[in-house]
């Protein structure tokens, strides 16, 4: 009983139409629970953007409504907030116990959380593209790279949220955000690296490389989150 299962769950949990149906049911449930909050966040962001555009002096770059010092923290806080909604809600209201009593694998649970977040981010991106002039200063490839970078951060947050319980679960993504911010700030101090990145920001190979890194890191985070969830008793998962 205490030993692990001899079969590979990754191979056995997503192999049939009913497994996909279950995944859809899980994602749909998360979407039904959180779509209002996502909509409120997006509307709030636009209100903030308009307020800041009105308050801040005009930016030197043409077409740029807000400086990255505003948009990047907002995007990262969107990630943190959505992942916290998706995971902490299940933990604090003990609905992880319901999920664990249903015939779905831990892989499906983790996968559904990630897919639900992807949908949230797609909705957020669509909203931003429609309501702000992002398309004027970012090419489609750059939009995709930015989108994947944010998704990668989301997978890191998801892994952090699922790996810890109690207060650590709430604090871990914030620490992660600080580490990313400090890393970015240190990188920004190196003019040589920044100028190289800026000069190659339009080259396809750079984007292809970044996509590969994003996919690898995301897969690693999701596998780590799944292994962590799988190793926990339901009582521990609830915390």
């Amino acid at each position: 009983m205490a030993r692990g299962r001899p079969r590979c769950e990754i191979c056995t949990s997503l192999t049939g139409a009913s497994d996909v149906r279950q995944l859809i049911a899980l994602v749909r449930k998360d979407w039904m629970l959180h779509w209002r909050s996502v909509a409120a966040f997006c509307v709030g962001f636009i209100a903030l953007a308009h307020a800041l555009t009105w308050l801040l002096p005009p930016l030197p770059q043409p077409g740029l409504a807000l400086p990255p010092v505003v948009t990047v923290p907002v995007a990262l806080s969107f990630v943190l907030t959505c992942v916290t909604w998706l995971v902490e809600r299940e933990r604090s209201r003990e609905t992880f116990a319901l999920l664990r009593a249903l015939p779905v694998s831990d892989l499906q649970i983790v996968g559904s959380k990630y897919l639900a977040y992807v949908l949230m981010q797609l909705a957020g991106l669509a909203f931003v593209l429609v309501t702000t002039p992002v398309g004027a200063y970012l090419s489609p490839m750059q939009v995709v790279t930015t989108f994947m970078g944010i998704l990668t951060f989301a997978s890191l947050c998801l892994a952090a949220q699922l790996s810890f319980t109690h207060r650590k679960a709430g604090v871990a993504p914030v620490i992660l955000l600080l580490v990313v911010a400090v890393g970015a700030a240190r990188l920004g101090q190196s003019h040589a690296i920044v100028s190289q990145l800026v000069s190659r920001w339009r080259q396809p190979w750079l984007h292809a490389s970044l996509w590969a890194v994003c996919v690898t890191v995301t897969a690693g985070c999701l596998i780590a989150a799944y292994l962590r969830v799988r190793s926990q008793d339901t009582e521990d998962l609830i915390g």
């Binding site: 015939p103 831990d106 339901t234």
Partner: protein, 232 residues
């Protein structure tokens, strides 16, 4: 292949608490009542049987198949209902049924509809507006509207009114005797065990102190028996 539930020398350690060793057998169509004070180990035993937690020693099998933690395919025939069913409060009863129905491969919408009528649940009502008794009934409905073979109920009648309790007791009896479901019911309430169960297992400080058939024992004698084994 042995039919039903077989628990052999089950031991679970959680923090400073040790459950077991516990061994028991339960055939399909019979109901076992688990009696014990708070902290006696009823929930720890049920979560161990349900494959929700790690066993330190021993084995649990259902129809000869080992119940292992993480073996999610066994959650189709084995349903586990907690004392206060953890449900999504923002969803309506209909949305909850739609979600859970989308998960079970053997979900039977007709049976769910019949149970909705029987238990008088309003499908348009939000789950967070349901009373404790209604939530207990909804949790039970979700657990039995598919091809369930074993039902594990953890104090589902705690904190509900007498009418709801009687309704749940009747439902358990029907499921056990007419559908052949094996049921394990943990409860503080002697009447629940007397009315719904065929066998009883009494736990005290993690150890079984009495195990046997009820044989129509009356509540008073069950209570005497419980206290004679040091129940509190």
């Amino acid at each position: 292949m042995p039919a039903g539930l077989a628990v052999d020398s089950l031991v679970r350690r959680r923090g400073g608490f040790v459950l077991g060793p516990v061994s028991l057998r339960l055939e399909p169509g019979r109901a076992l009542g688990l009696l014990g004070a708070n902290g006696a180990g009823k929930t720890t035993l049920l979560t161990g049987i349900a494959g929700q937690g790690r066993l330190n020693e021993g084995t649990v099998t259902w129809n000869g198949r080992p119940v292992q933690r993480g073996d999610w395919r066994l959650r189709e025939p084995i349903a586990f209902v907690r004392d206060v069913p953890a449900l999504y409060g923002e969803l309506t009863v209909r949305q909850t049924l739609s979600f859970v129905g989308g998960i079970y491969r053997t979900w039977q919408p007709a049976r769910a509809a019949t149970m909705l009528d029987l238990l008088r649940l309003d499908t348009a009502q939000r789950v967070n507006t349901l009373s404790r008794g209604m939530r207990a009934k909804l949790g039970l409905l979700l657990a039995i509207s598919h091809s369930v073979e074993m039902l594990l109920l953890d104090e589902v009648t705690a904190g509900v009114d007498a009418d709801t309790r009687a309704e749940i007791q009747r439902l358990i009896r029907t499921l056990t005797r007419e559908r052949g479901v094996a049921t394990v019911l943990s409860s503080h309430i002697f009447e629940d065990v007397e009315h719904a169960c065929d066998d009883v297992l009494m736990l005290r400080a993690g150890l079984p102190v009495f195990q046997g058939p009820l044989d129509g024992a009356r509540t008073a004698s069950l209570r005497d028996l419980y206290f004679s084994y040091g129940g509190q």
